[in-house]
Symmetry: C2
Subunit: 116 residues, 2 copies
DNA sequence: GAAAACGGATACGGTTCCGAAACGTTCAAC
DNA sequence: GTTGAACGTTTCGGAACCGTATCCGTTTTC
């Protein structure tokens, strides 16, 4: 990864990005929801409820509820696994991909504008 | 213009930090709460409810409630302004300062690709 | 001194979330 | 077939949070 920054820069970056996010009027995501969303979009599929719960170190209902909420926002979608109908596969959506992409771009822009 | 990263690095950094935060067992902060906390710790005081609400572009009850929650976590404290007793001044706490400091250190470590 | 303006907290009805436990469905083993 | 495990969801009581509106104490204005 090898990105170099000082703690004060990291904190300022986080603050400005959070402020940006709040003011954008987007629904207020929690750390948990952000972790789930980014894992779905950055880690290779397939993503099951159980695997996500293990990755975050939380219980399955936490994932189910977070997906309910983010599904209502059209950020993710759920589909039954045809090969094993017990599984639910969590997939990306166009809207979610756009959101994640813009989010990354905003962080980069903020980082570039940080004072030395 | 001091911190350089690509969008994929920014997103990965955010994911790993969020995962770290979730797994730490700390209470699950929202973007709003994080924005408030970091603003109190990074911007120069004094911090009033009204000013924080304006900075985040949200209503006053949002700030009041977030401070209730974070006050219960001992991350911030409230004090009446002796000069104008209508004002409430939001101040840092030792515990909050420690939390913010460690948070910044963790981001830096993740960015460098090093274990903490 | 009375009235208006200000700053923050509170009340309200509603949604989301929590952890723990129980539930239905689906698959695998025997 | 029947049993047992696996997967995700739902339930429960309780807590936190939402936006809007209102309330209370304080300060300012006239």
């Amino acid at each position: 990864m090898s990105v170099h920054m000082r703690p004060s820069q990291a904190l300022r970056l986080w603050q400005e990005t959070a402020l940006d996010e709040v003011r954008s009027g987007h629904p207020d995501l929690s750390f948990r929801q952000a972790a789930i969303l980014l894992t779905i979009y950055l880690d290779p599929p397939p993503h099951t409820i159980r695997a996500l719960a293990a990755r975050l170190g939380v219980t399955k209902p936490v994932i189910t509820r977070a997906l309910d909420t983010m599904g209502a926002m059209n950020l993710v979608s759920r589909h039954r696994d045809p090969d094993d109908r017990r599984n639910v596969l969590v997939r990306r959506t166009v809207e979610g991909a756009l959101y994640v992409e813009r989010f990354g771009d905003r962080i980069v822009a903020k980082a570039a504008g940080l004072p030395l």
